[in-house]
Structure formats: C-alpha cells, structure tokens
C-alpha cells in the first residue's frame, strides 16, 4: 500500500454522527469508512463524467430511480 498522509477533517455533529454510524455498522474505523467513501465517490464521478447515468433498483419491485450527481 502507498505511503499514508494525515489531514484534519472538520465535520458538523450531524456529519460525524453519520461517519460514526457507518463505522459501527460496518465494523470499520472512521478512517476506513472515509477511504471507502472517497473511492466510491471517485468511481461514480468517473462514470458520470463519461456520460453514464446512475440508477438504483429495488430488488423486489424492480423499480428504478436515477441518481442525479451534481
């Protein structure tokens, strides 16, 4: 793995609460959660930049909804 660098992240209570909730639910540290979030964000941005559209599908009903990335 590449060398790691440190940064200070200022979050609101609500934002930190979401990070802590993910951390608990996924049994991962807050750093690992944010690293995952960054990867996913970059992946989605790359697809949208290419002109792809993002959809979520309900597995049971097969209903699809487009996610708008701004």
């Amino acid at each position: 793995m590449a060398t790691k660098r440190t940064m200070t992240l200022n979050l609101t209570d609500a934002e930190m609460s979401v990070v802590e909730d993910f951390s608990a639910r996924k049994d991962m540290s807050k750093t690992a959660v944010l690293r995952q979030a960054l990867r996913l964000y970059q992946l989605l941005e790359a697809r949208v930049e290419k002109g792809d559209k993002l959809y979520v599908e309900n597995e049971a009903t097969k209903d699809k909804a487009e996610i708008m990335m701004v």
């Binding site: 793995m1 590449a2 049994d27 991962m28 995952q36 960054l38 990867r39 996913l40 970059q42 992946l43």
Partner: protein, 213 residues
C-alpha cells in the same frame, strides 16, 4: 506489502526446487508486454497443438478467458482508487496477474450480508503454469499467492480477510478445495459463473495453511 514488492516462493515443478519470485501491487507496461508477447502466443501454440491433434475447438481447455485483454482492463481502471492490480514475476517474466475491486461489491453469505469485501475481478496465470493446458506446469503456487494477496488487502482495508469472486469452470475446484471458499452457486447475472466467497474464518484458515495448500 510495499510498492517495491514482496518476496514469495514458487515451486519449480521440473526440478522440485523453490524459486524466488516477487509480488507487486501494480501492473506496469512490462506485464502488459509479457501478456501480449509471451502469454498470448503460448496460449495459441497450445490451441494449434489441440487443432493438429484433431481435437474439436469446443473441447479445447483454456478457451474461457482467451478474449481477456489485460491492456484494455488496466487502462480502463487507471487512476481509480477503487481498483488495483497485482502481478507476480519470476526471473524477469510475468507469471500471474490479478485485478481487484475494493468498493463495488458486498458479501452475499448470510452471516456477512452486505459487509464490504475485496472482489477479485480477474486473476490469471501464464499459460505455461495452467494445469489444464500443460501436463507439467512450469510453476505451482501462483493462484494461492494471488488469493493470499487479496486476503491481505482485505485485512488492510479492515474487511477482515473477506473476499469474493466468480470462477471460471476450470478454476472451481481450486477455489472450493484449495482455498476453502464457500460456493454460493451459479450467478445468472455473471454468465452463469459460480460465485465463491471467503469469510474471515476461512481467510484465517487459508493463511494458516501457508505452503501446505
């Protein structure tokens, strides 16, 4: 593992001696050139032999992934944090390649449902190391080392060693018997390939077996 590589050992089947190899967390131009200049010709040499022996193409082993274009795969994922490449080299030659995805997939086993895992997108050994193509493969241990690298990466990402993959038919016994992964059956969304998943406990058992796989 550092970017400079990790020293690992392959078994040279001709001599029975161990051979020092290197595992790197990257796929460079050198690997792509080896695939195009050495792997592909070696694969098609085997196909030519099968053809000359009168074997119908439907019975040729090793055809399932003959269309894989590693250059295209690597270039498509260049710069994405969600994907990484690994290579295994020995005596200056690329002997194995693997592409992993650390973001897009979730566990399917009920005990870990929706937890993160490292998904092995593609893994391949050089044709001369593949038992379905060679009566005496040149090196043994490539698949195990690459699966081990995926497990180590999963641990580093705090996924506890959980990994998953869809296996080509000829590799199914390797993932079930050698790796001890759970077989979750055919997946019609992935050309009917069988899906295999490794839990944290199975990953621990795989690592504990070491060279006795």
């Amino acid at each position: 593992m550092s970017e400079n590589g990790l020293r690992v050992t392959l078994l040279d089947t001709a001599t029975g001696e161990p051979r020092e190899a290197e595992l790197l967390s990257s796929i460079t131009e050198k690997q792509l050139t080896d695939v195009e200049g050495e792997w592909k010709p070696a694969l098609y040499d085997r196909f030519r032999e099968f053809n000359r022996a009168g074997k119908p193409p439907t019975e040729w082993p090793g055809t399932e992934n003959k269309h894989w274009d590693w250059r295209q795969k690597v270039e498509k994922l260049q710069g994405l944090l969600s994907h990484d490449g690994y290579c295994l080299t020995c005596q200056g030659m690329t002997e194995g390649l693997m592409l992993i995805d650390t973001s897009s997939y979730r566990c399917r086993l009920p005990e870990n449902e929706k937890r993160n895992l490292v998904y092995i997108d593609y893994v391949e050994s050089a044709p001369w190391n593949r038992p379905e193509l060679e009566q005496v493969p040149r090196y043994r241990g490539i698949g195990s080392i690459l699966v081990g690298a995926a497990i180590e990466r999963s641990i580093a990402e705090e996924f506890k060693g959980r990994i998953g993959l869809h296996a080509l038919p000829q590799a199914e016994p390797f993932y079930s018997a050698t790796c001890g992964m759970s077989d979750l059956g055919r997946d019609d969304t992935k050309q009917g390939l069988r899906y295999y998943e490794m839990t944290a406990a199975q990953a621990e058992a795989f690592i504990a077996k070491g060279n006795n796989r």
